[in-house]
């Protein structure tokens, strides 16, 4: 409840300031007066608190889950959470409220949202043969989150103008703190802003350099966590072997460098990790999937 109240205070203050047309006022690191005047929340990712980051991630995740629901099997979802949490605990941000989910879709893809939200599609899961390969997919997404790649993306280019404070406020807060007559209208406003940004990020994807960096950190996180690091390469090999015009890969190819490019960029890491030992855990994975 406490978590919900802070952003609510923030939006009330923003609304108050909007009516006063104030300028030059600041709340924390945000120049609220300027934001109100411009009608947009132009910000630097470094100004976003962890709480705001998590809230933005929740909002983005809600949009993603609005596209396709979670796969219903509780055991598989918890298994993916166990693997993901083990990796995350070895990452540079172990204290985020990490949550992992399997999205019911034949698309072959995985997604991350700020603040610790990671998703893998059931289509991607079915491509995998062992736990190390699952961990490889999750490690890539975890790296996007630890490096705040989505927050960096919304700092860039056209995204900046689409940023508003509402991205960092929960739908629940809107629903709980607007009067009955305004509730629907306010919620629709929130939903429109949040979904617009989430759609933009997921459709356009991150920049290629961030994808390559997530590969580099991902394979090293995999190795650090005791998995066979080269399962990461296996995954990319499998993706590279699926016909490029396969519809299941359409969005992945639109938003990522090709698997061939990613394999080439990992050559240095493969050499550096050449002597590490790790496990595949194929049996545990097979037991869980059966």
């Amino acid at each position: 409840m406490k978590k919900l109240l802070k952003p609510v205070y923030f939006i009330f203050i923003c609304l108050l300031l909007a009516s006063c047309k104030s300028t030059g006022l600041k709340i924390g690191n945000l120049d609220v007066g300027k934001l109100v005047e411009q009608g947009v929340n132009v910000f630097n990712a470094h100004n976003i608190t962890e709480e705001q980051e998590i809230q933005f991630g929740e909002n983005m995740s809600a949009v993603l889950l609005g596209t396709r629901p979670l796969y219903e099997n509780k055991d598989i979802n918890i298994y993916v959470n166990q693997v993901g949490m083990w990796l995350a605990s070895n990452s540079s941000r172990p204290d985020l409220p990490w949550q992992f989910g399997v999205i019911k879709s034949s698309a072959i893809n995985a997604f991350a949202a700020p603040g610790g939200f990671v998703f893998i599609t059931s289509g991607m899961l079915m491509q995998l043969e062992n736990e190390a390969q699952l961990a490889a997919v999750l490690a890539h997404e975890i790296s996007h989150i630890t490096e705040k790649h989505h927050l960096n993306a919304i700092k860039e280019g056209a995204n900046r103008n689409a940023v508003t404070e509402s991205l960092f406020i929960s739908a629940q807060a809107y629903q709980d703190n607007t009067n009955d007559s305004n509730q629907d209208k306010e919620y629709r406003t929130w939903a429109k802003k949040v979904t617009g940004m989430a759609q933009d990020l997921y459709v356009k994807g991150l920049n290629k350099e961030d994808e390559f960096l997530a590969d580099q950190y991902g394979i090293r996180l995999l190795a650090k966590s005791g998995y066979d690091a080269f399962a990461y390469i296996d995954n990319l090999q499998v993706l590279a072997s699926i016909a490029a015009d396969d519809s299941a890969l359409a969005l992945l190819y639109k938003t990522h460098p090709t698997p061939g490019q990613r394999l080439e960029s990992l050559a240095g890491q493969v050499d550096k990790l050449s002597s590490t030992n790790g496990l595949l855990l194929g049996k545990r994975f097979a037991q869980m999937m059966n």
Binding site: N59, S61, A62, L64, T67, R68, I76, I78, N81, Q82, M85, S89, N90, S91, S92, P97, Q99, F100, G101, K104, S105, S106, A107, N109, G123, M126, E129, E131, S143, A171, V194, T195, A198, Q199, V203, Y217, R220, L221, K224, S225, G226, D228, F230, I233, D234, Q237, S241, A243, A244, S247, A250, L251, E264, S274, G278, L279, L280, L281, K283, M289
Partner: protein
Amino acid sequence: MNTVFSSNHSKNFTKAMLILSIVFFNYGVSNCFASEESLMDKATRTDSTTRMGQVIKKVNLLEHPSYQSGSTGSVEAKEKVSIQSRERAWYFISSASLGQVEQPSGWINMLNVRFIATAKREGRLGVESLFSSATNDSLPTVSTGVRGFDENDLKNSKADLKQLLQLNTYRVSTGSATRFARQGKLTINKVKVKED
């Protein structure tokens, strides 16, 4: 890593398959048994998935999975190979070219190979056409009502807060994940995720 080859049954089966594949590729008898012995040694400690691949550039075949190892021959760029096993970043491959009799197998760095592309699955529901086991109810099967989502699906999406609550019910603690890792005998390696 060793699970597939952990039983004698698996070893015998693999042995038989390897002999058959070598005969199929028209190898000499003496060479056949030499290669089979070598493969079995490697196979007991490697991933066993056999796939067809294509070499992306001319590379030497090595006797052991190490650049310090001696060469047993070479394969040309674009040559098709059968990937028999993997050890760390190395594939043990045999040439799929029927004409190549001498030194047909050896180790190459896995980045020098690409798996051969599968046929396009015309408008299919993703992976179900690739995996017969997808009909198993306990697997994350793809129902006819759920297709892979794309750009348009995302653009038409509405936030689903109930699913978000559902997601939260699957969360696990760090302690639980650590116990899970211990059960799998996973240990932390001295690897820095962010290099200095």
